[in-house]
Each structure stands twice: as structure tokens, then as C-alpha cells.
Symmetry: C2
Subunit: 181 residues, 2 copies
């Protein structure tokens, strides 16, 4: 009944340009998806909900050579609601969930090799994510997209901090020379 962060994330994307559900999915992957993941089914469901709320209007578009699509664009009410949310939403306290830390927490019980592998896996994943974020950040460098760039930068700093933590952890545990595996 009440719109969620996901609702407004999609509404925000639609307010930049009208899109189909398929387009929204593609758009999130390159931007918002880095810090607010959404699944395909979730997006379609959310679009229906936004329409029921009167925040967007959908119109079917027939295409030759391609499947039909349904393009959504925000209504005046939708734009108002978005603006209101952006300017005065409360900070919701989200306990971040980092499952690998649960395993680390019980690391004393783990085989040493498992700990090493876990750290190596996390390092690889983190480095991969960092590379992607740096690329996005650089691509946005100098453009007027200041806020978009800031979100990428947040990701970069977060991932770098995690890599720094891995180095500390390896040192604390006396793990040496585990550069990539």
C-alpha cells in the first residue's frame, strides 16, 4: 500500500525518461543496482503497483520485429510524491547484512585453509566490484552528474575499505603471500 524505497527508485528512473520494465532493469544494473538491487519480477510487480497508486501511467506500444512493450511515465501525482520523498524521507535504519562476517565470527572453529579460502574469495569478489565501480566513477568524471558520481564514489571507498580490512585480517592471522588464487 505504501510505496517503498524500491518504488521511488523506479519512479526516479522513469522521471528521467519513460521506460518499459525491461529498460528499467537494464538501467538499474548500471547505476542504482550497485546499492539497491532489484529483480526482474520485482520491477514488473512494482510498476503495476505504481500504476495502481496513480504515480505512473502505462501505455502499450506495438512494434514490428520486436515484442510489444509497455512504456511507463510518471504522472503529476507521481512527480510530486517523488519530490516529497526525496526531500523528506526519514533515514531508515538498515542493519547491513554481510553474511561472510558470520563465518569469520566463528572463524576459530574453521579450518585454517577454509579461512584463507574465504578471505581469498571475498578479496576476489571485492576487487572485481571495485574495478567495476572505478570504471563507472571514471566514466562519470567531469560530467555534470555529480550525485551519480558520488554514489559510485561511495562504492569505491566501501570496497577499498574492505580490501584494507582483508589485508589487516591476513596480517592478524599470519597469512602470507596469498596474492590471488
Amino acid at each position: 500500500m505504501t510505496p517503498t524505497t524500491t518504488s521511488f527508485a523506479i519512479l526516479g528512473l522513469l522521471s528521467e525518461r519513460p521506460m518499459s520494465g525491461y529498460d528499467v532493469l537494464a538501467a538499474t544494473k548500471l547505476s542504482i543496482g550497485q546499492f539497491w538491487s532489484m529483480s526482474r519480477a520485482g520491477i514488473y510487480r512494482e510498476l503495476e503497483r505504481l500504476e495502481r497508486l496513480g504515480y505512473v501511467t502505462g501505455s502499450d506500444v506495438a512494434q514490428r520485429d520486436r515484442p510489444h512493450k509497455r512504456i511507463y511515465e510518471p504522472s503529476a501525482a507521481g512527480r510530486d510524491a517523488l519530490q516529497e520523498w526525496l526531500d523528506s524521507a526519514d533515514l531508515d535504519d538498515e542493519g547491513p547484512r554481510v553474511s561472510f562476517l558470520v563465518r569469520i565470527f566463528f572463524g576459530r572453529r574453521m579450518r585454517r585453509s577454509s579461512v584463507e579460502k574465504l578471505l581469498a574469495d571475498v578479496a576476489a569478489r571485492t576487487q572485481r566490484d571495485l574495478d567495476a565501480l572505478v570504471a563507472v566513477h571514471e566514466q562519470l568524471g567531469g560530467s555534470r552528474l555529480v550525485f551519480e558520481r558520488l554514489t559510485a564514489r561511495h562504492g569505491v571507498l566501501a570496497k577499498q575499505a574492505r580490501l584494507a580490512w582483508i589485508a589487516e585480517a591476513r596480517e592478524a592471522l599470519g597469512i602470507v603471500g596469498t596474492e590471488s588464487r
Copy 2:
């Protein structure tokens, strides 16, 4: 049917000492809860599930002066399952969800004062969390609880990185002298 990270988080705590659901809740708040939040109702449901799985056995304990309680402890099968999970779980790729970044992403559309307030709120929250984590980390300093300390340290680095980001963001946006509000 299949146990989750939450299941093993609870099973892990029980493997250190048998506890009631109430105790588990208290135990998580000081440790695992920092990176793997659990609600009270969720814990009770999970304990039932662990019992159905044969991973824990519960026994009712009557007490004078206090309500009865049900103490759970891991079975041999439970210990085995925990060990197996710790040593060979796959890294699950969790898109971190940071809702305030959704608002930042659309920051161009926000009033300047809203952006400033948002950053100030995030800063305050982050500093508060950081203080708590530093306290935990220091309390664990020098103890043999190496892994527990590492998880706290991860939190410290993550929060510090976020504070650094806020400083950068303020600079990029030309926000000056917004020390606490």
C-alpha cells in the same frame, strides 16, 4: 527446508553455550547483530526450525521467580552441519542495500537543504555506530577473540570509509561548516 545464514548464526551461538531464544536475542545484539540483524520473532521461528531439522534439542526449564524457559543446545548432527557450513559454504553475492544512496543518486532533484540534512543525518548515524564499534573493538583488544575482533574491525573500517565519503561529498557540493546539527 534448507538452513540459511540466520540458521547457522544462531546454531553457532548455541554451540558456544546453550541458550534460550531470549538469550540468543541478547547475544546477537552485542555481536553478530552488527552485521547480521535478526528480529525476536525470527529467532524463535528459527529455533523451531533447527529443532525440526534435528540440529538442536530444546528442553524446558522451570524456574521459580521467573518465567519458564526453553534452552536449546546443538545436537551432534547440528555441530557437524555447522562445521560443514563454516568450512565450505559458498560466498553468496548479496547486493548491499543502502537506501540513502538512492536519494543521493537523485540528489539533483532535491532541495539543497534536504541534501545537507540527509548528509548530516547519515553522518550522525554513522558516527554513533562507529563509536559503538570502536568500543566493542577496544573491549576485545588483546583477548584471544581474534575473529570476533576482526568483525568489529570490519565495521570500524566500513563506518570510517562512510564518514570519509561524507566529507568528500560535502566538499564536492560546496557544503561548509556543517559540524554536527
